[in-house]
Subunit: 334 residues, 2 copies
Amino acid sequence: MDEEVCRMTELSKELQDSAASLISRSCNEEASLRQRALSLHTSISNLRSSISSSLKKGNLHPQHALKLEEELGRARYLLTQGDAAAFLPTKSHGRFLRMFIGPLNVRATRKDVQLKVKEEYNSFRDRTALLFLVFPLLLLGLRSWTWDGCLPALPVQLYQAWLLFLYTGLALRENILRVNGSDIRPWWIYHHYCAMAMALISMTWEIEKQPDCSQKQKGVQLFLYWAIMQGVAMLLQNRYQRQRLYTRIALGKAQRMDVVWGETSGVDGQLWLLCPILFILQGFEAYVGVLLLQTALVGVVSEWQVITCGILLIVMAAGNFVNTVQTLLTKSRF
Amino acid sequence: MDEEVCRMTELSKELQDSAASLISRSCNEEASLRQRALSLHTSISNLRSSISSSLKKGNLHPQHALKLEEELGRARYLLTQGDAAAFLPTKSHGRFLRMFIGPLNVRATRKDVQLKVKEEYNSFRDRTALLFLVFPLLLLGLRSWTWDGCLPALPVQLYQAWLLFLYTGLALRENILRVNGSDIRPWWIYHHYCAMAMALISMTWEIEKQPDCSQKQKGVQLFLYWAIMQGVAMLLQNRYQRQRLYTRIALGKAQRMDVVWGETSGVDGQLWLLCPILFILQGFEAYVGVLLLQTALVGVVSEWQVITCGILLIVMAAGNFVNTVQTLLTKSRF
Ligand SMILES: CC(C)(COP(=O)(O)OP(=O)(O)OC[C@H]1O[C@@H](n2cnc3c(N)ncnc32)[C@H](O)[C@@H]1OP(=O)(O)O)[C@@H](O)C(=O)NCCC(=O)NCCS
Ligand SMILES: CC(C)(COP(=O)(O)OP(=O)(O)OC[C@H]1O[C@@H](n2cnc3c(N)ncnc32)[C@H](O)[C@@H]1OP(=O)(O)O)[C@@H](O)C(=O)NCCC(=O)NCCS
């Protein structure tokens, strides 16, 4: 037994040494890769601008410049989308993420882990989009069948609390995806901050009781309509984005990273189908906002909550519209 | 220029290869370390139980057994607290963490990163503990000086929303610390879930307006008293735990991991000073809970929110008490 104990002590010392050496070795190697990646990244950018300035000065044939730029684009794509991308400087973590989880590094080095995080985000959205539809429909249904046109406070508030946590989770995950190299537009994250504010504010709404509740509950009802709409938009968007991701994973697995350059589509046709529906939903979102402002100004329910939510909805609708249009413009330029 | 572009392409391919090889190499080495760590961990546990069974059967001299156990303890300490600890199986991430940030790995491999996360957690708590004291004191002060004994709804609800986010952040960070090997008792995390529920529920409280508000606002007032108390408890606890951490960092830097075994104190004396104050605060917490239940039962404010918060406070006080006592018992056994 003495021997055994001795062996354990030996083994644990050995293990400690190997662990320490592995950690310090990979630290060093990572640091050197980081440096190489950064310097390559700047050289590529510099070369790019010198190509375009030579082109302007007429020192370079346009066709030749195009060829060079294409080749350079390929090198850049390999650098920013391949394994080396993990060693480029991170996008900063952002205040929101730091407030909730502190200074922890949330970047995954391995590509397959990054894809797993993204896949899980998509399936999280799928799961929640359904609940998004079911809860408010249930509330509105029960209101007309069982509750005599009057929503009781507790279920509505539970639903709003759920929304708050859901949006917080989405905003956190999207921040994490951004750090992991997603090109998500900042607006889609701000949009979720606005939605968090909506959920929080609507929780402090007084849900009026009898009599006359159907008049006074106009605000809550409109809020629920907005939620249903969000559910529909989310489901459509999920369908489209999941397919995009699958295409990408398939391409990644085929190890053709340096061949495929630029937007890899076949899915992009779908975007032109999706967008009209999104525009209608966004129009409806703004309309709900205006209705909220109306109920507040006509004086049926004149709480500040109703006014703020109305303004928030209009801002969100406008932002969504502008950003969807910009996305379309960017894509059609390819 | 052609040459330059060619070189960039070459360089980016090389970099991609080095990155891919580093990633796969460290993946493999990590996997092997993980296996070694796990098997050593089980062998140590097995040896430990066989020592104690031999001792029971009388095959081993008690003093000898003690010596063996001490040595084994040292090996175990090195394994679980040294660099190799990063390769032991993680504690599971828990539903709460997964709900908010998905399946991301939040364990830091390097010891200094882990300590940084912990330090940041402590300074986050320091910053918030002060606000914890200032906000409710301000609200209560303004109530008597400016607001004629009546709290307006908006500032109180803003404060409650802040509390909700704060507790969510604390709970997330503590879950992350746990994954990074902290020995934090699960109760302290549950305690923050309860506090989140309190903040959420209190947001839906109707804050009654004139007339007679000072009667009807009993519940809100008591809630603010509880918050002040929490601030005091947090400040005291922070002072104590920061010192503990500094001791540990100092020891870690001195690289004497395998010499120092067991609780490394000098700070532990402080615990016996801190605990009486904590017990008083916990008693006061339970008392506030009882007062809340009383206002609800006497009928001044009979909303379900008041009753639930009362019960939550009593549960939290009891849990805090039991866990503080258990901590003391564990420590005095050393
Ligand atoms: C317009 C839209 C379909 C474009 O999607 P897309 O083709 O994926 O857009 P991009 O190519 O610019 O995407 C870049 C990245 O941002 C992500 N992204 C785009 N829109 C996103 C959104 N609304 N939420 C989260 N992530 C989004 C993409 O997944 C992609 O991530 P990746 O780089 O990790 O692959 C999408 O932005 C959308 O559905 N927006 C409308 C949402 C809306 O208006 N909702 C409310 C209606 S009431
Ligand atoms: C009793 C108490 C001082 C003990 O602290 P301690 O000596 O650090 O306790 P332990 O040695 O068991 O700590 C183990 C780990 O849990 C952490 N921890 C202990 N109590 C914690 C708490 N309340 N919150 C967060 N982390 C805590 C420690 O930092 C330590 O982490 P580490 O392993 O990463 O170093 C502390 O738990 C405490 O202050 N609790 C009372 C809180 C309370 O009652 N508040 C409400 C009053 S109204």
